[in-house]
Symmetry: C2
Subunit: 200 residues, 2 copies
């Protein structure tokens, strides 16, 4: 399997982290998105959305970090990381949606503005980020994990941009239940980090 | 089953459309989000994200339109609308991600700015919307459906804000393969519409 990757991408890190937790080997191809390489014709042929990560596996190309997490969970994790019954699958899916919505357009965007000079409204992104953290804090005050009382790809999908939030000048100290959850994730067997993560 | 609904919400329409295609009965509770009702404490108890749609089913509360589509597909559709093998599930998931990302933050946002006076950058949203339509057009020039060569919840998730795009002043005529796909969706047995859809 081959991962089109960038070290500082939180979306690509989701996949590297999940590969590590699954104890699966893979190759990486580094894509220099700071230089716009993901908008070059060769890459758009691989992913018309022009985004990393992309996974090549068994002759298929899978774009989108959430779709790749789902693929790896089904292929290597049985139902441990992603259950298939209606209720369980929907419960995980709710948090995958949060990862693609409030977390991506709040926490990840604020970080991109500060770190990569992305042109967007920092105050609006930070407000969206705090909204995401409040929802997570409220849930994690009463649950150890986001879904099903155990680690699932819901946690893997939401964790990176939460743990990178302070790079977008969004302090995490007001969210103690989120910090405890981050520590639980960091304690999972096989955990790997990336630059900029707040470690507990 | 009870759907917290709003007639003009494309996200809520995804669920009404899928219920109709599944030929399943449900009740609705209308939430007046124009008046901010989805931010009232009673609704935030149901969905901490403060968004419609929400589904109540079998004593559970499922928020997020994508999660609800997944739930209904598993509960009433066997594997017809959502397959469970790694490759098939990931293929559908890619387009669910598009629905939550480029389509929601491009097409749906442009419509919300024009129709509901939402404060955001119209030109940026329209550019994002055209980007989504280009990706869809390129794919649909070679495929009848978004995934697996048959109708799936990928189509249901992407269709509403595409067919409502012109309310955000994003013309659809430059995208003939998208228009043909819209016509195929409108021809599905049980199809129901909503106000503002471009009908083919």
């Amino acid at each position: 399997m081959k991962l089109y990757d960038r070290e500082l991408s939180g979306n690509a890190y989701k996949i590297r982290l999940f590969f590590a937790l699954l104890n699966q080997k893979y190759e990486t191809v580094s894509v220099n998105s700071a230089a716009g390489e993901q908008r070059q014709p060769w890459f758009l042929k691989i992913n018309p959305r022009g985004q990393i990560p992309v996974l090549e596996a068994e002759g298929r190309t899978i774009w989108d970090s959430t779709a790749i997490l789902v693929y790896l969970a089904r292929r290597f994790g049985g139902e441990k990381w992603l259950p298939l019954d209606a209720e369980g699958l929907a419960e995980v899916m709710q948090w995958l949606a949060m990862a693609q919505n409030e977390i991506l357009y709040g926490l990840a965007r604020a970080r991109a503005i500060v770190l990569f000079s992305r042109k967007a409204d920092l105050a609006e992104a930070q407000a969206g980020g705090h909204n995401a953290l409040k929802i997570l804090e409220q849930h994690l005050q009463q649950h150890d994990w986001l879904a099903l009382g155990r680690p699932t790809i819901a946690d893997i999908a939401c964790y990176p941009y939460v743990a990178l939030a302070e790079q977008g000048k969004i302090p995490l100290d007001p969210y103690p239940a989120v910090l405890s959850w981050m520590k639980r994730i960091q304690s999972l067997p096989g955990f790997v980090g990336m630059p900029g993560l707040r470690m507990m």
